[in-house]
């Protein structure tokens, strides 16, 4: 690990200002992903800003009947919150499907959204990777690509976003609230949060330098039946090959979002609109632009079947 200086900040504004004054600095909260990457020198921040002392660890109701989740709320606490379990069950289920108990006790809401891909070529510093070292190429394209994206990817990068929580957040139309070094706050709809890889896969989100996530808000509960189904190589403690989050109403309408298939949780309005027309139509809209590799084309069949199974379950 490269040496770094460390400070603990007390307010979001202090955190953002410090980030502005220290180029290359990183915020650290849970640290479960960042420290892993620092040990491998994939991340080499010269300065760490510990945000754990910020008062951003509460889950509170919003005036419009939703929930505001502090950026520092740990995955365990979010999954176990009685309001989340009752009204946003798909979010509890997604969180509980991810990582291990130890990791969920440390990992935070904002950190989960910002976690980096688990592409093995991103992790292997002997390999080219446009995400790790822009312009070096993509070893996954012709490599071992079983885990990789089948849709939304580019010729520069076929990495997936590894989060389960984010898939449920996307399904629920969460909003990401931030503060900038100049004190300006902004609200980013989660649909606009991740950038398509294109030629710049190293730029993963729309966050700017020093911008700090302060909370994630959920709109008022949707009702309906909530399902999160994760298909993976072992029954626990593994990343998704394909996951499906769904909220389905009694009339058969609803919404779906998929994990493990793209650089971001994969949800399309035109696919949601097909929910009353059967899972095959939903699948076709979601994957109309799919470009799998020979090694991961099985994910399309897996996604189609998982969608069908989840929608059958959700319709009771």
């Amino acid at each position: 690990m490269k040496a770094f200086t460390y400070e603990r900040v007390k307010t979001p504004a202090e955190a953002a200002a410090s980030a502005q004054n220290k180029p290359g600095a990183k915020f650290i909260a849970g640290g479960t992903n960042l420290l892993d990457l620092m040990k491998l020198e994939i991340e080499t921040p010269p300065h760490l800003i510990d945000v754990n002392s910020l008062a951003l660890d509460k889950i509170e109701p919003t005036p419009d009947g939703g929930l505001r989740i502090g950026a520092l709320v740990r995955n365990t606490d979010l999954a176990a919150d009685s309001r989340v379990r009752k009204d946003y069950a798909v979010l509890s289920r997604a969180l509980l499907a991810g990582a291990s108990g130890q990791l969920r006790n440390q990992a935070t809401t904002a950190g989960n959204l910002l976690q980096r891909t688990r592409c093995p070529y991103f992790y292997d510093t002997n390999q080219p990777c446009n995400k790790r070292l822009p312009g070096s190429g993509c070893a996954a394209l012709e490599g071992f690509s079983r885990q990789h994206a089948v849709v939304g990817a580019s010729k520069a990068c076929i990495a997936t976003h590894p989060s389960d929580m984010a898939v449920a957040m996307r399904l629920l139309d969460a909003t990401i609230e931030t503060v900038n070094p100049d004190g300006r706050e902004r609200k980013i709809p989660i649909a606009d949060f991740w950038r398509a890889p294109g030629n710049t896969p190293h730029l993963e989100t729309v966050l700017t330098a020093g911008e700090l996530i302060t909370s994630v808000t959920l709109p008022a509960p949707l009702g309906g039946t909530h399902v999160y189904r994760k298909v993976r190589d072992r029954a626990s403690y593994a990343f998704a090959l394909v996951s499906v989050a769904a909220v389905v109403q009694s009339d058969g309408s609803g919404r779906v979002a998929l994990g493990g298939v793209a650089h971001q949780p994969w949800r399309l309005a035109e696919a949601d609109a097909q929910l009353t027309n059967g899972s095959q139509n939903v699948y076709q809209k979601l994957f109309a632009s799919a470009q799998p590799t020979p090694e991961n084309e099985f994910k399309l069949i897996l996604a189609k079947r998982t969608l069908a199974s989840v929608l059958t379950e959700a319709r009771g």
């Binding site: 490269k2 479960t32 892993d36 921040p45 291990s100 006790n105 822009p134 403690y237």
Partner: protein, 233 residues
């Protein structure tokens, strides 16, 4: 120590913020220059090591920090390099070698300790981040003369073979039963709104972050069920 804001780290940060298209063309230019054998031009640009991170960076000197930890009920002060994980602080600085380093990447659970009442992977947190925290390690759960019930149950049920993962397994087990008692649901909890029970299925799922290379899982499960009162699913 040298200023961490100078050198290639700073360049690196600037590069991320720079217009990506411009950066791309910079890379292409460099590549074509190298192809043409213009060695002097290549030297002007920070030399790179294969596909790895920038090598020419002046590595910043280690930064030291004071940390106070309450370990197994005892307040301990130490000075650590900021890079020191809680795991390394326990083992190397405090010589509490009961906590084991397995993968050092949060994948195996051998380093599991209980911090402020919660089990975490001590390899994935920095000692400086835990300043003021209460840490319980295997040494704090019990002693050879006065075993914690979970330690006694692991012995009774032969819940180990080589023993390397055992401290992590035991710390995790103690926390798992507490998590169930607190009503924290898991991936296999069927009904999210009612309290989970300590069934074998629940225990298996919740222990999935602790790997046992010897495969003592069935005996580990028997030990935990023994302590929990043994509700079987």
């Amino acid at each position: 120590m040298s200023n961490p804001n100078t050198g290639a780290h700073n360049n690196n940060a600037g590069r991320q913020d720079a217009n990506p298209i411009e950066y791309y063309s910079f890379r292409l230019t460099r590549r074509s220059l190298l192809k043409a054998g213009a060695a002097s031009a290549a030297v002007a640009i920070a030399p790179r090591h294969a596909f790895g991170e920038t090598e020419a960076a002046a590595t910043p000197a280690p930064a030291m920090a004071q940390v106070t930890l309450k370990i197994n009920g005892q307040s301990r002060q130490l000075e650590v390099d900021t890079r020191t994980t809680l795991l390394d602080a326990l083992r190397e600085n405090l010589h509490l070698t009961g906590t084991k380093k397995g993968c050092d990447h949060g994948q195996c659970g051998a380093c599991t300790v209980i911090v402020d009442g919660r089990r975490i992977n001590s390899c994935l947190t920095l000692a400086v981040m835990q300043d003021g925290a209460e840490v319980t390690t295997i040494e704090g759960l019990g002693t050879p003369e006065n075993l914690h019930p979970m330690q006694a149950a692991f012995i009774k049920h032969d819940g180990y073979q080589c023993g390397y993962c055992t401290p992590g397994q035991i710390c995790s087990s103690v926390a798992v039963l507490k998590e169930i008692e607190m009503g924290i649901p898991s991936h296999v909890t069927l009904d999210l709104v009612s309290a989970p029970q300590a069934t074998s299925e629940e225990i298996r799922e919740r222990m999935s972050g602790n790997i046992c290379r010897c495969g003592a899982y069935s005996n580990i499960l028997a030990a935990i069920e023994d302590v929990s009162g043994g509700q079987k699913s």
